[in-house]
Structures are given as structure tokens and as C-alpha cells.
Amino acid sequence: MPPASLFRATSFRLALSYLGIFTVSAMALLALVSWSTSMFIEWQVQETVEAEASGLSEQFRERGLVGLTELVGERSRQDIERRTVYLLADGEGRRIAGNLFGWPSAAENPGWARFVIERMGEGRLVTEVLGRTYELAGGARLLVGRSLADARRVKSAINRALGWGLALTVLLGIVGGYVTSRHMVQRVESMSRTATRIVGGDMGSRMRISEAHDEFDSLADSFNEMMDEIQRLVEGIRTVTDNIAHDLRTPLNRLRSRIDLTLLGAGDTESYRRALEETLADADNLLATFNAILTIASVESGQRLHHFEPCPLDRLLGDVAELYEPLAEEKGIALSWQAEPGLSIEGDRHLLFQALANLTDNAVKYTPAAGTVALTLATGAEGIELAVADSGPGIPAEARGKVLERFVRLDSTRSTPGNGLGLSLVQAVARLHGAGLRLEDNAPGLRVRMVFPV
């Protein structure tokens, strides 16, 4: 992957901006830590100074200026680490004892002061000091202070550690962002390549699904499902086109030949009339086939084009049975129906009626005299079952899938009327309603079940 595309990648920009936000907040946090550390250190210094001063003032109360002078001198000598500053001066500002030799001008007044000293005790020492000046009874003044050098060292050590931490954070962020976005870019680019292949005509191409089961996988999965559906529809259209070409061309040709022949012959009015009537019948058949194709196409094109309403299935079944009962009787077939009352689904009643009528029509058409056709509606294990069973010749198991295809007719002589679209429409209607269509052996005969999951 070229670096340019990586830096363009949304994921990388996203990673960068997260990094920015993170850095700023980490810096704010570190500043707070650093500030509160120095506050704490300063407070500790003050405590130390005050503890020192209170010890000294006790001495002053007990033994007066002499005792204090002694103690200050002793303490000054003891402070070999040169951390604590002492200075005791009389009313005129003359030094009495301590390890400082001049009164710092910043500490002239009683109270806290911060000042820099250059000498301490015997040697030279440049350091910042936080100290407090006390006025003593009798005009003497005492200055107690503590070097801030230790505090500075602690503070800078902490700051250094914080700085390194920040640098490491930023580095990790950059590396992590790069790795993450490179991963994302690769997956997006793989998807984009697949899409390009599909656009290029390779309809069978599909997105790769990784083991991770992440959002990309679910996106790829949805995309693949969408492509399956599109492919199914496209193939459906292709099949229809092929079949229209095949199954409509033959009757159209026949129709044309008949007209041709009629015009060639020296016909009388009667033969013309007969030819016209036959032509009209042909045209009607063609239209019926055409309408069936259109209906299937419209049903397959999806749900939103159809009017769904609650359909009481028991009534639907009764209506179909009643419609076909005289026809069955005429053929000497016993048509029976049995419906569990109160079963209803959301659906298009006209299409459901058409589907059930097609099944019943087939059953009555293929069942020989003295046979039976049974329509049933019941709640089964899988849902609501609408079944049409007959005692006819049935369909061999290996042909059951095939009869659902358009224009497929098992009767190759085509001696029975029909266009081979009946079951295709049933299947399309079943699919539209989310129902499964099962063709089974009725031993003897065929049983077709439409199962509506509930």
C-alpha cells in the first residue's frame, strides 16, 4: 500500500486526531501532577521550617537570647548537609549567630520570603531558600529557612519521568494508529477491489470474511447477502428473458403462420372467421402466459409493491375449495377440505388465493377419476401449514426441484393445458410471504405444503 493512501485514510486521520486529543489531555494531567507535586514539596519545606522555628522559640522562651544563640550556633554547625539556613541578629541588625553572614534584603520583614543566597557557613553555595523571619521579644530577629535545591531535584526528576511518559505515549499512539489504520485500509481496499471486480462483470465475486467476526465482517456479510439477492434477481430476469424468447416465439410463430396461410388461400368468409377465432384464442393464450410472467416478476420484485393485510386463511381455503369443488366433481374426484379456524397471516389475499388455486388446479388436473384431492390448514411444528394433497401420479423426488422452475412441464407432450408457470408463481408467492414450499410424496400422489413460520 502506498504511504500516500495511508495518510489519506480516514482511519489514520482518525487515529491522529485521537492521538492529538490524548496528548493534550495527558499533558494537562501531567501539568496538574507537576504543579501539585511542587505545592506539596513547598508545603513540606514550610512545615520543616516552622518545626525548626518552634524548637528555637521554645529555647528562647526558656533560656533567653543566650540560649537561643547557643542553639542556633550548634544547629548551624550540625547542618553539614547545608540545607537549613539560620540567622539570629540583634535590634540593630548585627549578626549574633547562624550560618548566614548578611541579612537577605528580601527577608527584611517578618513572614515568609524567598531569596537566593551565595554563601552559607564556611563555603560558597548558591541556592534558593524559602525562609521565615521572626521578630523576637527584645528587638532581636530570627531567620530560619531551608534550601529548595532538594525540592528542585525532586521536581525535575518527576517532570523528567512525566516527559518520558508523554513521549512514549505519543510514540505508541503513532505506531498503534499506523498499524490499526493500515489494517483498516487493507480491509477497505480489499472490499473496494471486490466491488470493482463485480462492477467489471464478475457477479460471483464475494467479500472475504475474516475470523475476527468484527464490524468489517458483518459489513462484508451483509454485502455478500445483498449480492446473492441481486444475483438471484438478475438470473431470474435472464431466465425470464430466455424463456420469453423461447416460449413466446413458438406460439407467435404459429400465430403468424396461420395468418399467413389464411391470407394465401382463397378463403371464404367462414374460413376467415374460423382463422380469426383461432388467432384470437392464440393471442389470449399468449397474453395469459405474458401476464403470468409479469405477475411472477412483480411478486419476486419484493414486498413493498404489494398490499399486505390480515388474511384469514381458513376463509381463503374454503373459497378455493368451493371454487374448485364443481370442477372436481365433474371429473369424479372427491375434493375435501379441512381448516383449523382462526389462523390468519399478513399477506396479499389475491396472490395467496392465486397460489392456492394454482395448487388445487394442478391437483385436480393431474388426479385421475375416482381420486381424491384434500386441502388442509393446520398449525404444525414449523408454523401454519397450508397443504394440497392429491392421489395422482405424483412427482418423482428428483424432479421436484425442477418443477418449480419457470416453464418446466413434466408432461413433455404438453397434452394438458397450462403454461408451466403455475408452480413458479406459487413459489414466488410463498417467498414473498416468507413461507417455505415443500413438495412431498403423498404415497400415492403429491402433497404440496406451504409453511408460514409464526
Binding site: D284, L305, R349, G418
Partner: protein
């Protein structure tokens, strides 16, 4: 057949409308033809017609708008909508707009004629709420749900009763198989077999078998009618 009618035909397909006008004139009706929606709406509002045939997709003003405009101005002339859009939803939309019947292209001329005549008849009959129907010696009592011929009661199944009722309400007119399916069974579907013929022949068994004069007639290439044979 019914008396001569004044018919307005709004249809932009010149050849189709020429055939239709010719057929309607041969049946004894007067036909005005408009080839676009604007002219059609003008004629529909300025003249009086017994029935209008309106194509749904028209240049200018579309068919449904014409019907809505007419209904909005209180014009109740029966309207038959012609359309290439044949789904149930399209049909419902057409009837909601104020159409009285909906015929999907392509159609048989006999179907068109039968529906136009049915429209005019139902327009006239809608005012009188009949309780008894009578064709020759066949009588139907709509309240008692009973049928008798020459005084002899005839026992009919509920659907047979409705089938006969529809035929008798349109006595003397041709009713097509599709009209029967839509009005008696109330489903829009294409039967693969001539189911209606079987139902009619059953009805004939009960109505006509024991009598000299057959009342239910088959009209070749069109459908059925109930009347005394001539």
C-alpha cells in the same frame, strides 16, 4: 342490449381508440373522443355523458386527475378506467380516485362492452334498493334469500345464490367470466381452467333443467347473460 348511450372516450392511442370507437358505434352508441387529458377534461365537464372511458396515462392531465376533478365538482357519471397497470394496488388507487370499474390492457372488446353496460345499469339501479329480482318466471327474494321458478322453490348454495343474483341484477346484459370472479368471488386472479363455466353449468342444472325455456345463455367469446332465449 341496452339503449343507445353517449360515451366519452379519453385515450391517446389513436389506433386503439379508433377500434374502440368503431365497435361502440356499431353497438349503437354515440362516441366522443379526446386524445389528451386537457381536451378530455374539457369535454367531460362541458357535456353530459352516460359513461366515460378514461385511460390512466394521458398526455396533459392524467386520467386519475380527470376523475378526481369530476368527482370533486359533483359529477357522478360512471367512469371505466383503462390501464396497463394491473396490480391490485393500482386498481385500488384507481377506484379510490373515483373510478367505478378498472380494466387492464390488453382486454377483449366484449369485456369492455360488458363492463360499460354493467356500469350504466348499476348507475341506474343504485337508487332503487330492490328486494326482489325477476327474470321471466324466475324470481329471487333478496330478503328471504330464496329463489323460485314458476312458483317452484329452488334450493341454492350461498355462492350459487350470489352468482344468480349477479346475473339477475344484470339481466339482459353480458357478464364476463372475469366480472363474475371479481364480483361473486371477490378475488382478482387468473383461473387456469374454465372454472366459471363449471359453476354456471351447475347453476343451469338447478335453474333451467326442468323447464322448457333456458334462461342462462352463453354468449360466445364473451360470457353469459340471463334472459329468455329468442
Amino acid at each position: 342490449m341496452v339503449a343507445a348511450m353517449r360515451i366519452l372516450l379519453i385515450e391517446d392511442d389513436a389506433e386503439a381508440s379508433a377500434y374502440m370507437a368503431k365497435g361502440l358505434k356499431e353497438a349503437g352508441h354515440t362516441v366522443d373522443h379526446a386524445a389528451n387529458g386537457t381536451d378530455g377534461l374539457f369535454l367531460a365537464t362541458s357535456e353530459r355523458y352516460d359513461v366515460m372511458i378514461v385511460d390512466r396515462m394521458l398526455p396533459g392531465v392524467d386520467g386519475l386527475t380527470i376523475i378526481q376533478t369530476l368527482r370533486g365538482s359533483g359529477n357522478a357519471t360512471p367512469v371505466l378506467i383503462l390501464s396497463a397497470l394491473g396490480k391490485v394496488d393500482d386498481r385500488v388507487r384507481g377506484l379510490k380516485a373515483g373510478g367505478d370499474d378498472y380494466l387492464v390492457k390488453p382486454y377483449a372488446f366484449a369485456e369492455l362492452m360488458a363492463r360499460i353496460e354493467a356500469l350504466i345499469r348499476s348507475g341506474a339501479a343504485a337508487t332503487a334498493s330492490e328486494t326482489r329480482l325477476k327474470v321471466e318466471d324466475l324470481e329471487m327474494d333478496l330478503l328471504a334469500r330464496s329463489v323460485s321458478r314458476a312458483g317452484k322453490p329452488i334450493d341454492l348454495q350461498p355462492r350459487e345464490f350470489r352468482l344468480l343474483e349477479y346475473l339477475m341484477r344484470h339481466a339482459g346484459q353480458v357478464v364476463t367470466r372475469t366480472m363474475l370472479l371479481e364480483n361473486v368471488w371477490e378475488y382478482h386472479f387468473d383461473p387456469q381452467t374454465n372454472l366459471i363455466d363449471v359453476h354456471i353449468s351447475r347453476l343451469r342444472q338447478k335453474i333451467d333443467k326442468d323447464f322448457d325455456q333456458a334462461l342462462i345463455q352463453t354468449v360466445r367469446g364473451a360470457g353469459y347473460t340471463i334472459r329468455a332465449a329468442r
